[in-house]
Amino acid sequence: MISIESLTKRYGSSTVVDAVSMSIESGSITVIVGTSGSGKSTLLRMINRLVEPTSGRVLIDGADTTSTPAHLLRRQIGYAIQSHGLFPHRTVAENIATVPHLLGWEKARITARVAELLRVFQLDVATCGRKFPHQLSGGEQQRVGVARALAAEPALLLMDEPFGALDPVIRSKAQDDLLDIQRRFGTTIVLVTHDMDEAFRLGDRVAVMREGRVLQHDRPGLLLTHPADPFVTRLSGTAERALRLLSLTTAGELAEPGPPEKRTVAAAASLREVLSDLIWSGTDAATVMNSDGTSAGRLTLARLLAHGRQD
């Protein structure tokens, strides 16, 4: 549990982050979204004290972050950034081992952890570890950047636009992988982005920032149905907000008992994907299939459309 208490950062006369208070649940993904200059990166960087707050404080599990020397605090918190920041003169394995090495882990433990992470991130353990960052593709570099951030098993991971430099296909894959990894390790993640789609896709909670203030910090669905500020509505986009809302729920969650249909959809698919599939196939109902091949029930177009309404 992270408590941010009236955190403020001023540079001279300009206030970049203005008395932000929010609490972040352990094991959740919180996405801070906003336009550039909204103070979202500064807010993130105050959590691991890369930026020292002008006033206010951050408590991690009840402990004030200023009670630990900044560099020791940062070793306990994962940190991944947009341009990955890999060390070009060190191999992938050495890059990933950075924080465990700083923490004085035993060599065998470091080797085992590096191998585990390479496996988790679908990188070839035998060859990839010895490569230098410039020998990897952009997507691989980004994965190594996240693997490095997770190397010392941090309970909290801060990510500053981690997928900003990736092309849409690789980005979508990277987002799926992050969700998998978050489930596997149970890491608390605070992620900064300017991409609303990314925020809706990843966030258990989304905080919308503008001019240094958090306008709304809520579940993504509530951001759409109960926006606290016109800016929130504008940022989430009125043109496709119904579709966004549908994308937040899976077919499995909405399935109801009923007779089998010819058309089948996966339980993990979002309602948005199911809608697209029903339009494409010209049907108005489908059977929802679990990943093990059993039926989870039936989903009709009418029920689906009702879910995308404002209230």
Binding site: R74, Q82, G85, L102
Partner: protein
């Protein structure tokens, strides 16, 4: 209709061949002097080479010219160029032996303009061939070591002992070793001192942008002072220092000699190292530094493990500039009693003995060239590691 195609003419080969032919025809290969200071008279190859060797020599040079013109294979070009160098060296050694009366230590047989131009043409063909082969850094250093060993063996064999420069060497052999040591010590010592000071100054300039312009500007100003003027300027304060503190004078700090030479060379060395340290550090990816800080590396760890290693190729380039510059500048230090190979150069100029000038000048060129090759190889190696 059949058409015979000539291979394309190599432009550098054409130039070198033309220069070589001109040197052979119009310039004296050796110069014979009755003693070391009188002007000499030209001697052509015909006058000292027997018919057989002369034919072999001309044939070798013809093959070299043909290879330079028409052969594209770099290995062949290198082999032929090296054989050409050996032929020219053997011819000049033969001239020394043939033209010196037995037991006579007064006459001088000096390599003439023709010899030097041929040697330079073949040397350029050699380096061009090596460049075309694109050897790795380790290979380049190995080649340099092989050339140095071959040259050393050739001189030690005594084949060139009748030539004027080796005569000067024989007379000055004790001093040669001493001046060589002094030259290397001055060049490398002032470089080492400059690196120890310039590296931290460069790091400070990187960290505190406010002082950067002032520091670089001051060092730039020092760089514009002509070397002789700087040696002169330093004589007064160092002389005063020695007069005021006998302790300093006892330790060799005087207005003339090694002290002003080291100080001047040190001052000249600062700018390239400081400037390259600043540029090298500025080139380090900000994302890597941000990530390092975010992961909990301390400022010192970031400097030692991230910034310096990544800036090292650029810093080494600065050190290479300084080393080559210093090896040349040490020559001038001889004027204020600093010693080094420059002592031979200025003594030679004073006595109008060109052979003595060359005894000083040739090792300086060789030393600068070798240092450049070794440090370039090192920079290359670093760049490969820290890409």
């Amino acid at each position: 209709m059949s058409q015979r195609r000539l291979p394309a003419l190599d432009p550098l080969g054409a130039l070198l061949s033309a220069i070589g032919v001109a040197a052979l025809v119009f310039l004296p290969f050796v110069v014979f002097k009755a003693n070391r200071v009188v002007p000499g008279e030209a001697r052509t190859l015909l006058e000292f080479l027997p018919a057989g060797p002369l034919l072999a020599f001309d044939l070798m040079l013809a093959v070299a010219a043909g290879t330079a013109l028409f052969v594209a294979n770099a290995r062949w070009r290198l082999a032929v160029a090296l054989l050409g160098v050996i032929a020219v060296a053997m011819a000049v050694a033969a001239a020394g032996n043939a033209l010196t009366p037995p037991g006579n230590k007064v006459v001088r047989v000096a390599p003439g303009a023709g010899f030097w131009v041929l040697l330079i043409a073949l040397g350029l063909m050699t380096t061009d061939a090596i460049t075309r082969l694109r050897p790795g850094p380790a290979m380049r250093v190995l080649l340099l070591a092989l050339f140095a060993a071959a040259a050393g063996l050739a001189f030690a064999s005594g084949a060139f002992d009748h030539l004027s420069i080796m005569r000067e060497y024989a007379v000055n052999s004790d001093r040669f070793a001493r001046e060589a040591r002094q030259h290397v010590l001055l060049a490398f010592g002032s470089l080492a001192a400059a690196v120890v000071v310039a590296l931290p100054v460069g790091i400070l300039c990187h960290r505190i942008p406010r002082i950067r312009a002032g520091v670089i500007g001051t060092l730039n100003l020092i760089q514009t002072i002509p070397s002789i003027a700087l040696f002169g300027i330093l004589m007064a304060p160092l002389g005063a220092l020695a007069a005021a503190f006998p302790w300093a004078a006892e330790h060799g700090i005087r207005g003339i000699g090694t002290a002003p030479a080291v100080v001047a060379l040190f001052l000249y060395s600062l700018l390239p190292v400081v400037a390259n340290t600043v540029v090298g550090l500025a080139r380090v990816s900000p994302a890597a530094v941000d990530a390092a800080r975010g992961m909990g590396l301390t400022t010192r760890q970031i400097l030692a493990h991230i910034e310096i290693p990544l800036a090292l190729p650029v810093i080494l380039t600065g050190i290479r500039i300084v080393l080559v510059q210093n090896i040349g500048l040490v020559t001038v230090a001889a004027l204020i009693g600093g010693g080094g190979f420059g002592a031979f150069v200025f003594q030679g100029i004073g006595q109008t003995a060109m052979d003595l000038v060359l005894l000083g000048a040739i090792p300086i060129v060789m030393l600068a060239f070798s240092s450049a090759v070794v440090l370039d190889a090192l920079v290359d190696l670093m760049n490969r590691a820290a890409r």
